[in-house]
Amino acid sequence: MTDKTDEVAVSATTEGRARDPLWDDDKPVRRPVGASLKEMARYWWRQLTSMRTALILLFLLAIASVPGSLLPQRNLSPSKVREFFADRPGLAPWLSRLGLFDVFASPWYAAIYLLLFISLIGCLIPRINVYLRAVRAMPPKAPRRLSRFSDYAHGRTDDSAGEVLDRAEKLLRSKRWRVVRRDDGTGETLSAEKGYLQEAGNLVFHLSLLALLIALAIGKLNGYEASRIAIEGEEFCNTQMSYDTFGGGALVDGTDLAPVCITLNSFDTVYDTDLTPAQFISKVDYATTLDGPTKSAVIETNDPLRVDGVRAYVTGHGYAPVFTITMPDGTTRTEQAPFLPTDQRNFGSEGALKLDTGDNENSLALQGFLAPTSQDSGDGVIISTDPRLLNPAVALFIYQGYTGLDTGKPQSVYTLDKESIDSGLLKKVAAVNLKVGESTTLPDGTKITFDEVREWAAFQISHDPGQVWVLVSSVVLLGALMMTLMMRRRRLWVRVSDDKSGRLVEVGGLAHSGQQAFTDEFSQLELRILGRARPEDEESQ
């Protein structure tokens, strides 16, 4: 519908009455000049809660999300952020200052959606009040000139006004319109309205949007996400200390995490014939109290373990070689370390193992490459040709010396300290390829045996107390959205008046939205109200 028709309609319905905010569009307000502080405040508040502002803020929200998807984000991939810094050392610090590497947590992004929700709340509350009154109110009085509506029909009748309007009322009530009869100066009138649920859907939609945001915020503040690697046979518990990474909301202090202990019994990958991984199966045991019963569960790709609000996912996997080290004095130790895959197809993995022998100056460190299915590519360099554990071999560089484990300085678990190697504190004493069961003896008598390969799984433990409410809000939101888009508010008036040529019956109607559908509906209704069509004829239409 064009604006012009709406203006006609609006003026037709609002003759001599106050503005109906559920029916009329948002009209721009003139800025008051030389007004008091209170009036200026009121003006700015009305600006903030107007539809135009909501439009602009929504636009801004969309535009502001764009850099968050094009630039690397710290919460998604800190390594890519570091890469960006390395590639563009001039530009990166400025982008970082503007918060562009953490867009969705930045203050300016928050400002946009907070403004949006203030605007929304400021618009919702009066509208809810208006609606609660309108829901109970009777349809408005019939305008004087029904002919000004685009949906208009008229006819002559010999029936009395009462009969015509009774027929109309019966028809409309059977179609669940709200009907009221009035007698004004020009004749007897009937006012009808239908489609109140459209505004209800609109209000519920926006309220559930608010509820969703609040639930999201509560979840983020009180939730946490942690990760660690566990090798088959290892057990870990839900305490901040046992995790490799731990990130929690502002209200999480790491002390009251739900008690859960998980043991990884086995990890298996099921492959397709072309070696695409089809399924990842992690068999775990878990317990929620110290001496409580242990239950078993299987964690699969789309199926995490859910216990006590804690969700356990397996987000990665790899291989961990197990070595037995026999010291010169006869003591044996069995050590294992997860190796990280460098090739996601064939799972050639790299890693390190550091051993504190008690003698700081003479500790043992291994760095190596593990191939689950090894093949000699020549010159003793092994490569992996299959992700399955068919013929594992490990290529080891063995170092002895000072590992730096006692300094307290954090080191990577998966590599040896380069400084120590470069400065000669850690000396390479052997380089050897070992198959399972093979061993090598160092000059000083230490024997290193490659026992077996176990698999490890990367666990992610998450907790979000708000997420079920986010889900409920979004379901309600969807239902309300469909309601507000499908329903249509519309009004219909009938006037029976006597003029010089007889009795005139006029029917006029107005739709808030869905003009074409209403025009179709109107053409049906007016035929029956004006008595031109009998009910039996309806079937043929």
């Binding site: 519908m1 064009t2 604006d3 709406d6 569009d25 948002d26 009209k27 721009p28 539809m51 135009r52 909501a54 439009l55 929504l58 636009f59 969309a62 999300s65 998807s69 094009l70 630039l71 690397p72 984000q73 919460n75 998604l76 991939s77 890519k80 952020v81 890469e83 960006f84 867009v103 999201l216 996400e225 397709d272 014939t273 072309d274 695409t276 991984p277 089809a278 990842f280 790709t301 789309n302 199926d303 995490p304 969700r311 996912y313 987000t315 992610q460 998450s462 979000d464 997420q467 986010v470 889900l471 979004s474 379901v475 969807l478 959205l481 888009l485 499908m486 939205s513 003009q515 074409q516």
Partner: protein, 342 residues
Amino acid sequence: MSVNESLAAVSDHLFSGAVVGYSIGLFALCGDYAFGKGERRAAAKAQARERTRELASVGAGGDAVPPAAVVDHRDKASEDAPAKPSVWGPRLGLIGIVFTVLGLGLQIAALTTRGIATGRLPWGNMFEFASAICICAVATYLVMAIPRPSRRFLGVFVLPAVIFILVLIGMRFYARAAPVVAALRSYWLAIHVSAATIASGILLVSAICSWLYLVKAKHEAHERETGDYVPSRIAGNLPSAATLDRLAARTMTFAFPIWTFAIITGAIWAEAAWGRYWGWDPKETWAFISWVVYAVYLHARATAGWKGKRAAYINLLGAATMAFNFIVVNTVIAGLHSYSGL
């Protein structure tokens, strides 16, 4: 699960057949569009005459010699040769619809055989996903055009877009029939990706309607200015701008809740598969951006000063974000030169 290679080859042939079917259909619909223009031009001229007459009678008031007389003179000449209702127009229109339906059938068959060949639902990669979107777009067009033959003209604009997408994905984004990675082996594929596909297809048609609205609105404004019939090859033959605006809005009322559902089910799936229901992954972010832009469209249609052309532009912007989501986010951002991937 091994792939049935012969069935996959059949699927590819059916795909090519669908493109041919659509092309023939498009050709026929263009014929309908062209042959009918004599009638439409006459109707438009008659309308323009009506308008001038109205204006003249309003303006004349109590003039002794109404300027309408001058207008009548000119009309007499053109009224002498009324346009005959075109014979070939509707026939070609029917042929066009038949071939479009045929093309749609072939496309559905192509996707189905691919699904049988791989033993999974056939929307697991870009190629299949885009094919499914095209199916939904053509289906939307047919649902609109078959009951009301006056809407067949939409095919002249929807089919080229569909053919372009199919040729593009066939040449650039083609993926051999193969199983999907473990993460996609879930019943959520049926729910979430289906919803996204259907919504995208309908939104494509809505965007085309909005674009046609802009073309027609400009033409109508031109006609209002000059007060007379303005000849035009394309715009003149389109139905009224109000009709086009309404079509765009009605398709949007269908598609927007479906898109919302797609985002919600995507979040539910992400919670089960990725460990969190929303992580601002680029795909999630752009789905959100599209949703917000379409929300702006719906708000604009209820705001004075923003209905009509501005709303139409917003619809086109929304379609652009969907296209960006599909093309750039799937290829560039996941690739080497983007840093925002995982």
